[in-house]
Amino acid sequence: MSVAETDLEGHADVVVIGAGMVGAACAARLSHAGLNVVLADRGSVCAGTTASGEGNLLTSDKIPGPELDLARWSLDLWHQLSDRLGEEIEFERKGSLVVATSNEALADLVDFAAAQRRDGIDSQSVLGPDLFNLEPNLAPDATGGVHYPGDCQIQPMATTAALLKSTPTLRFVGGQEVVRIEERGTGARVLTRSSHVDAGFVVNAAGPWAGQVAASAGASLAVQPRHGVVLVTEPCAVIVRHKVYEASYVATTQSADARVQYATVIEGTASGPILIGSSRERRGFDPAISLDVVQTLAARAVRLIPAMAGIRAMRAYGGFRPGSPDHLPIIGPDPDCPWLIHATGHEGAGIGLAPATAALVDHHITAAPVPVSPDPFDPKRFR
């Protein structure tokens, strides 16, 4: 990738707007397919949501149907990518343990896992002493759980950088905010305050800001930000071995409630600190991290893993998930501007779904075949 702080210029086959994981995946894929691609961002690489998550590649939290099919396919693509990109992306097949803290929640969880199993997602119910063999530090009143061995994790920033580095022909133009996109013939002209580039296609991978990018093209897109906070502890010896999260997590991803929604997620990292989530809050684009949210995350973590009580919290970071009206990603041509391909609305699953999203975008631009139907993600479903 050639890094330019300079302007947009000339002509490209595709301009991808948004240099986070999804944008980088699209740009890399299209570039490898032989297209002339420019990747543009108003900031630097990973200036948005990608730097605010945990790097999860999950199928455990996906509802059977199009979402799960996309996630399963995308995880396969990640396995292939990890072989190609190397160790620096810290790809780890970590596995998840989803924990229920009541009998009712456990029954729902077991049913959910059974439905996912029918769609090819491997999991095992873990009850009684088996639960504590897997995670000895769980609160003694945890009723049971499901173990998903297939869940993985990567380091998102390092992976985005590696993706771009693996694509030497790709042009990255940073520090340039797109202010307008004008239709030109069958394609478009992408304009910043001081420069422009003409393209056959424009890919909108601006995450939570995808609505703004759509508006700059005279289109509309109902992506709304959903704020989340991650609390980070001091480096610890191993306290949890898997990603451990509460069974209520899936419900919070689907919730329409505007108040802060919590579902405890605890995960160790290779470098030692434990990451604690999760919160979901509709607060527009206000990035302030409230102490209240941080305190609640801490309380819930200690509730689930009491042995963490004495571990110190060091810092917290936050970010915006790109929320979609029906909680499914929005991937495909805009109904009004067929040269504008949306690739957004991934909520909290953008990292995991990035390669499949890139493949779907590729399909929309080059008609490359894909193993899942693109229709459930098509933006025209909102009409």
Binding site: M157, E234, A313
Partner: protein, 544 residues
């Protein structure tokens, strides 16, 4: 006079009354204090609780603590931290959090905080003083163990904050969060004795500064210390490494350190860098008092047989499990000096943790740091929040005292106890005069030329062991601000949360990116606190 002994890594270490664990280790020559994630040996560096390099655990299963801030206690057992805390099977038993209310709170009890507190108390305003130290004085007013009276500006004895009726003094306490609440401010305070919330209408931030040391090859080796830390242990704990000490860098503090160490019997080499000549010029223009101070220190050093190298640059140091030699370039020749220890300083940067998280406007302050912007009455950009001393910009103890008094007058006035016009004018004039004399001294301090020739293997983030080469590599990958550089390299993510590396990285990134790269001092959690303490009042485990 030996008070007792404790065990460190199986070795018996004797300590004197009032010594910190770190001070006792230095005096006994016990090394290392800890091992990093990569297995490298580390020891005390800053000596005042900012760098978190001196971590050790007093019990297996206990979280590691800063030995420089921990008093030595007889018959305790310590082990080097291996950079990981372990889960305790015992839940920390926390007493309920208490709320303390007062009209004003003063954060920090160095010269500025003490001045603010005493002037407020004198005007009958009830205050809470929250101080990280065991006793008042901050860094500049530490009690001395030296037999001779200390002739310099840092030898003040008999610190008197005032008596108890209007004053509550919380020592060994750290504010980990400060925010607006109702019409005032709420500070979350952590201490070994328990946790507290202090609620008041006004806050005076007087949290001082920390040392700025430019990175150089080998600076992470045990025995290499920031000059302020070396001074603290020498003066306060009678402790220094071995015998041969190189004091290097720039700034008036180096003269103090060298003199203190020489008086204690160390074999001192003082290497003041290339800006020294302009420093001398600045000193001469700064007034009689400074010339006398410089002369006082100078003669103490010469009497002690100290080797003084003017216009010398410390290039690197080397060693194995501790520092053994230093390489200094002087008058065109490179000199290898055998050393047991280095005391290095290149300046100071204000501690802006609470200022930034409270939302106060800050501005760049040299050496890659920034300072809270205060007006002529010490007010910040946020209502009810004032600041005094180094927090508003590096200026030394005397300026801090004046600003502390100034802040007190402002609060007193707002509370219906106005000062006379003459009083206010006197303070303002004194502040202006002091600022002028200090400014000429500070102009002499270097800023950024070390980047011309940086060895790519030099560690730039000590906590996470990030080497210099990672920074341009991150920028090439498209990381154009400190937030992205931090995310890609892990620099700034360690225990010190960017206090040591923040100014370094800001200078480095600015040079590479030539646009505003932002800062690394936005710390929601101002000092690490246990999850139990963090969540103390929260019982809401349900959604909605």
């Amino acid at each position: 006079m030996t008070e007792g002994s404790f065990s460190f890594n199986g070795e018996r270490v004797a300590f004197q009354q009032g010594q910190s664990v770190a001070g006792a280790l230095i005096a006994a020559g016990v090394s290392p204090v800890r091992y990093t994630r990569s297995g490298a040996a580390r020891h005390v560096f800053c000596g005042i609780g900012n760098c978190w390099d001196c971590l050790a655990s007093s019990d297996p299963g206990d979280v590691p603590v800063r030995t420089c801030l921990t008093p030595a206690v007889a018959d305790t057992t310590w082990a080097p931290s291996i950079s990981t805390a372990t889960a305790g099977s015992d839940q920390p038993r926390l007493a309920a959090k208490t709320d303390l209310r007062s009209t004003a709170m003063v954060v920090g009890a160095g010269p500025a905080g003490i001045a603010a507190a005493s002037h407020l108390v004198r005007r009958g305003i009830d205050i809470t003083v929250i101080d990280a130290g065991e006793q008042p004085g901050g860094q500049l007013l530490r009690p001395s163990r030296l037999k001779e009276a200390d002739g310099g500006i840092d030898g003040r004895a008999g610190i008197d904050i005032g008596d108890g009726e209007h004053l509550r003094y919380l020592s060994s306490s750290a504010v980990w969060h400060l925010r607006r609440q109702d019409d005032g401010w709420r500070a979350e305070v952590t201490a070994a004795a328990g946790q507290t919330a202090v609620i008041s209408r006004y806050v005076v931030l007087a949290t001082g500064a920390h040392e700025y040391v430019r990175p150089f090859p080998g600076w992470h080796l045990p025995g290499v210390m920031a000059a302020g830390g070396a001074q603290r242990f020498a003066k306060g704990d009678n402790a220094f490494w071995g015998r041969q000490i190189l004091v290097a860098g720039n700034g008036p503090l180096l003269l103090t350190v060298a003199a203190t160490l020489a008086r204690l019997g160390a074999d001192v080499t003082l290497a003041l860098d290339a800006r020294f000549k302009s420093a001398i010029r600045a000193v001469s223009s700064a007034g009689l008092r400074r010339i006398l101070e410089a002369a006082g220190y100078g003669s103490a050093l010469l009497r002690g047989g100290t080797r003084i190298m003017l216009g010398a640059t410390l290039l690197r140091c080397d060693g194995d499990d501790r520092v053994r030699t230093a390489l200094v370039r002087h008058r065109g020749k490179d000199h290898t000096i055998s050393v047991d220890s280095l005391a290095v300083s290149h300046g100071l940067v204000p501690d802006t943790t609470l200022a930034v998280s409270a939302g106060a406007l800050c501005q760049p302050a040299g050496s890659g740091g920034r300072a809270l912007a205060a007006d002529h009455r010490q007010r910040s950009s946020v209502e009810g929040l004032l600041a005094a001393g180094e927090t508003t910009g590096i200026g030394g103890g005397q300026l801090g005292r004046l600003e502390g008094a100034n802040a007190a007058l402002t609060i007193a006035e707002a509370e219906g106890h106005p000062s006379t016009a003459a009083e206010v004018k006197r303070i303002q004039k004194a502040i202006t005069r002091e600022r002028r004399s200090v400014a000429s001294l500070l102009r002499a301090l270097p800023d950024g030329d070390w980047l011309d020739d940086i060895d790519p293997d030099t560690i730039v983030c000590r906590c996470e062991e990030v080497s210099a080469r990672s920074v341009p590599k991150a920028v090439e990958s498209g990381a154009w601000n400190l937030r992205s550089i931090k995310a890609l390299t892990r620099a700034g993510m360690g225990y010190c949360q960017g206090r040591t590396c923040g100014p370094i990285l800001r200078q480095y990134a600015t040079r590479l990116v030539s646009r505003d790269v932002g800062w690394l001092d936005n710390r929601l959690i101002g000092t690490p606190v246990s999850l139990a303490e963090l969540s103390a009042e929260h019982h809401d485990l349900t959604n909605g």
